[in-house]
Structure formats: structure tokens, C-alpha cells
């Protein structure tokens, strides 16, 4: 079976070369037979990648420990569900997953054939991308490599990865990463073909937003996994690998906004090309970081020789695409006029500046240990305090823009327009700020000005977005005489792209509330208690009921049962655990969480004595639930905006020709 898998990869390698050659020959000669044959090669590659992927899954399913990769990442006692997901638990399989997704995406693009004369260029560029990944698997790190002697038992999967969050996180992240290859390929194809129109942007809109959505989900599911599984009470550690998936998300977000200016005003063509190049290259940079071992990371696949190949491919992609862009600069002529300093267009420019600025700050912080070591010879660390200090003010400006952008009209905003639109959200944010400060001064809670200010900005953004819905509904009611529900429904459904975007903004704002709250008002304490003892943490009363142990498969688990009540009202029973995996030297802390819309009570079992007395680490994390709810709202908003049909069309052009 393993040989069949390897053979599938080997044939895919040949087919990828054939695809590049075939499309190139077609472009030169226009030979239809070659074109059809090349398309066949693309579909065959997609089929073979599927075969290879499912064969590896099968090998995990039957615990075939003659295959090195299966032996390294599985064991007979691994639940079947995790056996299926173990395929991407390590480097080789994750590369296969990447290639599989890329091959399927390429087949879809070629099958859709949205811009007929561009498809061969796009197909060839995507095949170059595939070729690199197949090359790595065929010649450097074969997922189907067999051991000289089959092993009776596998080494087992990293216990940290045995969590549902880790099932969703890698797949969604990869779907996002690979998805950005499509708009990149179209952009490059447009440059090669010397086409300066925005057709490539329109055609790739679904791909770009879908990639962005998956990357959002990837980041969010990763955060949820870290929160529930890693047992440190946080969800984002600014780890280099986390940063690697955050950076393309930021530049992708900037791209999604700036293409609107190209659509509407025929401007920012060069900037959009730059953004999609950066976004794509950052996805490759992420794979380099994970595999190179140049930076310390919780998520890395460890040091391997692969890093230099990924770095080389990343550099080639960056330099090649930039050279192409510079060569075509005179072709990318664009209109150069804004009607006013204050308009939605100019607010988008600022939004791009901040999004790219945060991406740059994150990139700079990620690579700074290498820069510093190269310059000074000293090893330094750049971690949470740096990223929080640098990115928090930028994030606040971003939140402010999130509120300002919807309130400003396209083309030109008058002073009257600004006063009309800004008064209510500003007033509500002001009242919130004053109220919160007053309550703080009156000692109802700990007064912290900076977080209250941040919350007030988020309130402003929230109100600005909500008011957009209300205002639109009222205008529609006035114009059509419809009742509020019908007017709201028709307003949003007929402008899905716009209001879907606002729903996404609402999701982001919910997440911002969670981020501000959980980072500034979190509370942590250590508590000791005997069995049947009770301790209080803020309004919570926790009764330690029982300490017990059990063997789950090969894992030894010690757990404590705790009963939690708040202000006399029983909330529930929770069970934090300490798990000793035979394949892992350190026992793993499995927290248990009682979650509410206001805050999470997060308890970990830290230690215990023979008499049953135990030590618990208790955290109260405010508003964290809104992080996950915000994520769901983003998904809903994206699906709403993407749903085909009337209402999802592009906006009108506002140029001097229209």
C-alpha cells in the first residue's frame, strides 16, 4: 500500500511537470489538443493526490507500523478518530494535506475556467506551486517511507494534539493558506498577460474571501485549542507559528478592503498586487517557520533540513513576483484622483496602513531574535509583552477605523454628513466611558483607564455598525413604506456584500471585547483545599468534593471533582485533570471551564498530597466566550456576503468615466 502511495506522488510529480509544460506550449501554439491533455493532467493530479491522501489515512487506520510516518505518529490504542487526523500530526503528512488541497483547488480553477485565456497561466503557476510540494515529499520527506523492520507498536500521537480543536485547526488553516495561492496565481497571470483590468479580482473574490474565512477559522480554532487544552488560561501566545498564520490574515484583510477601491475607482492596482504577493509569500513563510526550527515554537515540527528548501521557494516566489510587477509597472496605470480628503476611500487607506502595520510589527517581532543575534551576537526573546505593547495601540486605532469606515460616504463626506453620522455613536461611547470611570471611582470594580478607553472605542465601533443597519432600514421604510422587519430583511438581502461585511465587523468587535476584557481584567490565584473543603474566589464558592484516578487506555489520569456555586446558586460540577501520557515526559494539565457570557471560571489541578489535599490554580477570564461567539458571527457574515445571487454583486464604479 505504501508503495502505491509513493507511486501516486511520483506520477503526480511527472504530471505537474507536464502541466507546466503543456500550458506553456498551449499559450505559445494555441494547440487545443495540448490544452485538453493538460487539463486531463490537472484532474489526474487531483485524483492521485486524493489516492495518496486516503492511502495514508488507511495506513493509519490499520496501524501499519511498517510505515515510518505511521509508526512515529500513531499507536494501536489511539482512538480511531485521532488515527484519521494523525495524518497531519507531523511534517510529512501535513505536506501531503497541503498538496492535496492545492491539487483539488487547481482542478476546480481549471474546471471552472472563469477567464478562458487566463486559465492556462493560472494552471501553470499553481502547478509550479504543487511541483515544489511534491518534490519535497518525493525526494526529501516521503510520507510513505517504510522502516527496515515493521514495528509492533507506534510511538503515539502527541497528547496535546488529541483534542477536537486540533482536528479543525490544521485543516482550516491549510484551506486558508492554500486558498490565497489562487488570487496570487490570477494576479501573476494578469501581469504576465499585461492585463490591467480588475477582472482577476472579480473572479477571485470568492476564493479570497473563502481563504480569509478559513484562515480566520484556523486562527480561532487554534486559539480555542490552546485555551482548552494547553492549560495556561490564555488563547494567544504570539508564538512564531501563531504569528505566521496571523500575518497573512492581516494582509489578506487589507487586500479584501483595498480591492474595493480598485473596483470602485480604478485605483490602487499596484498596491493590490503588492498585497496579494505579500499575503501569498507570508503563507509560505509560515511553512518555512514551522519546518526550519530557526525560531523556538510550541507548534514547530522541529529542526529539519526542509527549512532551507522552503526559504528558497519563498524567496523565489517573492523576488520573481516583485520583478514581474516592477516590469509591468507602466501597464498598471491607474486613475489618480480622490474627491476629498475625507471619504470612505481614504478611510480604507488608513485601514490598510494599520492592518499592514500590525502585520509588519508582528513580522518584525517574529524575526527580531534572528536580526539581533546577527547584529549583536546576543540571543534575545521576543514574546507576549512585546507584541501586546506594540500591537495593542495599533489594534485600538484599527477598532476606531472599524467604527469610522462605515460612517463615511464614498467619494466625499461633508461636515454635515460627519456630524449626522458620528454624533450618536460618539455620544454613546462617551456615556459608556464616563459611566465606567464613575463606577470605577466609586469602587464597584478596579478602575483601569486604558482598558475602559479601549472598551469605549469598541462601543463606538459597535454602535457605528449597528446604526448603519438601523439607518438603512429606516431609509428603506421611508422610501417603500415597508414594515421594519421586511425593510431590514430586504435591505440586507439586497446588499448582502455590504451588510455581510458589517456582520463580519460585528463579529470582530465581539472578539475585541473579549480580547480587551480577558487581557486586562483576568484574575489568577492558587488555592489549597482538603477534601470537602471550600474556597471562595470572587463571587464563586468552590467545594472540593473528591480526588480520584483512573487509567484511560495507556494514560494515567488523576482528577478532582469540584462543585461550583455563585452567590448561593449552584452552577455546576467540574473536573480538572492531570494526565500522564506514557509517550510524554511531563504530565499534562487538563483544565475544566465553567463558561458564561460574563466570564469563564477556569480551574486547573496543580498538585495534591497523600491525604487528598489538593492545590488548584483558579483563573477568572472575563468575556472569553465572546471570542468564540464572534468567530461564529464572522462565519455567518462571510457566508451571507458570499451567498450567490442578487445582492452579492460588485459595487458601482465611481470614476470620471462613469
Amino acid at each position: 500500500m505504501a508503495d502505491v502511495g509513493y507511486l501516486a506522488l511520483l506520477i503526480s510529480f511527472v504530471l505537474a511537470i507536464y502541466t507546466i509544460a503543456g500550458f506553456t506550449i498551449y499559450v505559445k501554439t494555441g494547440n487545443q489538443k495540448i490544452l485538453e491533455s493538460t487539463k486531463g493532467a490537472v484532474y489526474a493530479t487531483a485524483f492521485l493526490s486524493t489516492v495518496a491522501y486516503f492511502l495514508l489515512t488507511y495506513l493509519f487506520g490499520v496501524s501499519d507500523f511498517s510505515v515510518s510516518y505511521v509508526w512515529r505518529y500513531s499507536s494501536t490504542d489511539l482512538p480511531w478518530f485521532y488515527k484519521l487526523t494523525a495524518v497531519w500530526a507531523g511534517n510529512d503528512g501535513s505536506l501531503l494535506l497541503w498538496f492535496w488541497v492545492l491539487a483539488l483547488y487547481t482542478a476546480i480553477v481549471v474546471y471552472q475556467n472563469k477567464i478562458k485565456d487566463m486559465t492556462p497561466y493560472v494552471g501553470a503557476l499553481l502547478a509550479v506551486n504543487s511541483l515544489f510540494f511534491i518534490f519535497v515529499m518525493v525526494f526529501l520527506t516521503n510520507p510513505f517511507e517504510t522502516l527496515p523492520y515493521p514495528q509492533p507498536e507506534g510511538q503515539g500521537m502527541n497528547p496535546m494534539l488529541q483534542n477536537p480543536g486540533m482536528v479543525i485547526h490544521p485543516v482550516t488553516t491549510y484551506l486558508g493558506y492554500v486558498g490565497f495561492a489562487i488570487p496570487f496565481a490570477y494576479a501573476m497571470a494578469a501581469l504576465i498577460m499585461k492585463r490591467s483590468d480588475d477582472q482577476w479580482i472579480k473572479v477571485t473574490r470568492y476564493w479570497t474571501i473563502t481563504a480569509w474565512l478559513f484562515l480566520s477559522l484556523g486562527n480561532l480554532s487554534g486559539a480555542q485549542w490552546a485555551y482548552e487544552e494547553l492549560g495556561w488560561g490564555g488563547y494567544w501566545a504570539w508564538d512564531p507559528v501563531e504569528n505566521a498564520s496571523f500575518m497573512p490574515w492581516l494582509t489578506g484583510s487589507a487586500f479584501l478592503h483595498s480591492v474595493m477601491i480598485q473596483e470602485r475607482k480604478n485605483m490602487l492596482k499596484i498596491w493590490n498586487i503588492v498585497l496579494i504577493i505579500i499575503t501569498f509569500v507570508l503563507t509560505l513563510f509560515g511553512t518555512f517557520l514551522v519546518r526550519s526550527g530557526v525560531l523556538t515554537s510550541v507548534h514547530a515540527f522541529g529542526n529539519s533540513d526542509l527549512g532551507k528548501y522552503f526559504l528558497a521557494f519563498t524567496v523565489v516566489a517573492l523576488v520573481g513576483s516583485l520583478i514581474l510587477m516592477v516590469d509591468r509597472l507602466n501597464m498598471l496605470k491607474e486613475d489618480k484622483e480622490f474627491e476629498s480628503y475625507i471619504s470612505k476611500e481614504s478611510s480604507f487607506l488608513l485601514n490598510n496602513l494599520i492592518l499592514v502595520g500590525i502585520a509588519f510589527a508582528t513580522f518584525w517581532g517574529t524575526i527580531f531574535p534572528l536580526v539581533s543575534e546577527a547584529v549583536t551576537g546576543d540571543k534575545i526573546t521576543v514574546s507576549i509583552p512585546f507584541f501586546n505593547s506594540v500591537n495593542a495601540p495599533l489594534g485600538l486605532v484599527m477598532t476606531l477605523l472599524l467604527g469610522i469606515c462605515p460612517l463615511i460616504a464614498w467619494r466625499k463626506a461633508s461636515v454635515k454628513n460627519l456630524i449626522e453620522n458620528f454624533t450618536i455613536p460618539l455620544a454613546i461611547a462617551g456615556i459608556f466611558f464616563a459611566g465606567a470611570v464613575t463606577l470605577g471611582v466609586l469602587k464597584y470594580y478596579e478602575l483601569k483607564i486604558y482598558p475602559i478607553f479601549a472598551f469605549a472605542i469598541a462601543v463606538f465601533a459597535l454602535m457605528a455598525t449597528v446604526i448603519e443597519f438601523i439607518k438603512g432600514t429606516r431609509v428603506r421604510m421611508k422610501m417603500t413604506g415597508e414594515n421594519p422587519v421586511t425593510a431590514f430583511f430586504k435591505l440586507t438581502s439586497k446588499n448582502r456584500r455590504r451588510y455581510g461585511g458589517y456582520v463580519i465587523h460585528l463579529g470582530i468587535i465581539m472578539m475585541l471585547f473579549a480580547i480587551i476584557g480577558s487581557n486586562t481584567y483576568e484574575m489568577e490565584t492558587l488555592r489549597n483545599a482538603p477534601i470537602n473543603g471550600t474556597f471562595k474566589v470572587r463571587d464563586y464558592t468552590v467545594t472540593y468534593l473528591n480526588l480520584a484516578d483512573e487509567t484511560r487506555g495507556k494514560n494515567y489520569v488523576v482528577y478532582a471533582d469540584l462543585s461550583v456555586s455563585k452567590n448561593g446558586k449552584f452552577l455546576g460540577q467540574i473536573r480538572p485533570e492531570r494526565v500522564q501520557y506514557p509517550t510524554h515526559p511531563q504530565p499534562s494539565t487538563e483544565p475544566d471551564i465553567l463558561s458564561s457570557y460574563k466570564e469563564d471560571l477556569y480551574i486547573m489541578l496543580v498538585g495534591w498530597n497523600e491525604d487528598g489535599t489538593a492545590t488548584f490554580k483558579v483563573l477568572i477570564n472575563p468575556l472569553v466566550k465572546w471570542l468564540w461567539i464572534g468567530g461564529y458571527v464572522i462565519i455567518l457574515g462571510t457566508i451571507f456576503a458570499l451567498w450567490p445571487g442578487k445582492g452579492s454583486e460588485f459595487g458601482p464604479k465611481y470614476t470620471r468615466r462613469s
Binding site: L230, G231, W232, G233, G234, A237, P240, M267, T296, S297, V298, E337, F338, E339, S340, Y341, L349, L350, V356, G357, F360, A361, W364, F368, P369, V371, S372, V375, T376, D378, K379, I380, T381, V382, S383, I384, P385, F386, V390, L394, A409, V475, N495, E524, I531, L547, A548, D549, E550, Y556, V558, R578, P587, V606, G607, W608, E610, G612, G651, P652
Partner: protein, 167 residues
């Protein structure tokens, strides 16, 4: 209580010993817990796990927490404790680069880059708006001869209606 006493006690003993050992002989002395947490958040666990000490629950982090508690119990302030850690582990123990020497570049560069970006946007915007005003002036002179005020208003009215469709 259901309990595999031997196994559980062994694991518990290990954890408790680790905690009590790292707490050291001065563990009874009072330390400012808030300050301790603050300093923990400024230190990185030195076993290459990449996590900050507050977040990490492995033995190295536990050991480092012990040192921290000990230093605070001796009456050291934040700066002194951090210096002690740098003495033991080097600068890499700090979770953020110190704001001195070349490392200032880490803190300043992002803001300098954004400021440069803001200036570029300002000058471009200035140029674009100027282009528009210039063009409007030319177009206005020509149009003035052709369009009377009433027709212009009619045109603006139509434009507003069109725009409303998209607002």
C-alpha cells in the same frame, strides 16, 4: 474516594516535592503576589518550550518561579530580580527585548514604518485630491457654459437617487 494510592501518590509526591523544593527555604516569607505575577509574565521558560513562565507548568518554569519567589522574599525589586535572571540565563530569559542598544530598534521600527506609511498616504492623498480639484476646475469652466443651474440640480438629484440604491 476511588484511588490508586501508589501511582497517584507517586505522581502527587513528584509534583508536591517539585513545588516545595522550588519554593525554597524562604517560601514562608511574604511576597507581593501581584508583583510576582507581573515578573513571571516578563520571563520566558528556559527549557525551549517558548512559553512565558506564567503560562508554563513544566518543571523548569516551576523552578524559575521558585527562584523568583526567593529573590522577592529577599526584598529585591522588579529591576533587581530581572537582573538576577539575566545573570543566570542571559538576556534571552526576558520575554521582551530590553529597551537599550540595538534592541531599541525592535520597539521603534514598527512605529517608524507606520509613520512613514502615513506620510506616503498623506502626500498621495494630497496629490490625488489636487488632481481632482484641478480637473473639476477645467470641467467646471466648460460645463458652466452649457449647463444652467436648474439642469445641474436635476443632474445632482438623479445622481443622489442612484447613489441611494447602493447606500
Amino acid at each position: 474516594m476511588r484511588f490508586n494510592l501508589r501511582k497517584c501518590a507517586l505522581l502527587g509526591l513528584l509534583l508536591t516535592l517539585l513545588m516545595s523544593f522550588t519554593a525554597g527555604p524562604v517560601s514562608a516569607a511574604p511576597v507581593d503576589e501581584k508583583l510576582k505575577k507581573e515578573i513571571e509574565a516578563m520571563l520566558v521558560c528556559m527549557d525551549d518550550c517558548g512559553m512565558i513562565v506564567t503560562a508554563c507548568d513544566n518543571s523548569t518554569a516551576e523552578y524559575m518561579r521558585g527562584i523568583l519567589k526567593e529573590k522577592l522574599a529577599l526584598g529585591m525589586n522588579k529591576e533587581e530580580v530581572l537582573k538576577e535572571f539575566v545573570k543566570i540565563y542571559g538576556t534571552k530569559v526576558l520575554a521582551a527585548p530590553p529597551k537599550e542598544g540595538f534592541n531599541i530598534a525592535a520597539w521603534v521600527t514598527p512605529f517608524v514604518a507606520i509613520l512613514a506609511g502615513a506620510l506616503i498616504i498623506y502626500f498621495m492623498l494630497d496629490k490625488w485630491v489636487f488632481n481632482k480639484e484641478d480637473e473639476e476646475l477645467d470641467a467646471g469652466l466648460q460645463a458652466a457654459a452649457k449647463l444652467d443651474r436648474a439642469r445641474l440640480e436635476e443632474y445632482e438629484d438623479k445622481l443622489d437617487k442612484e447613489l441611494k440604491k447602493y447606500l
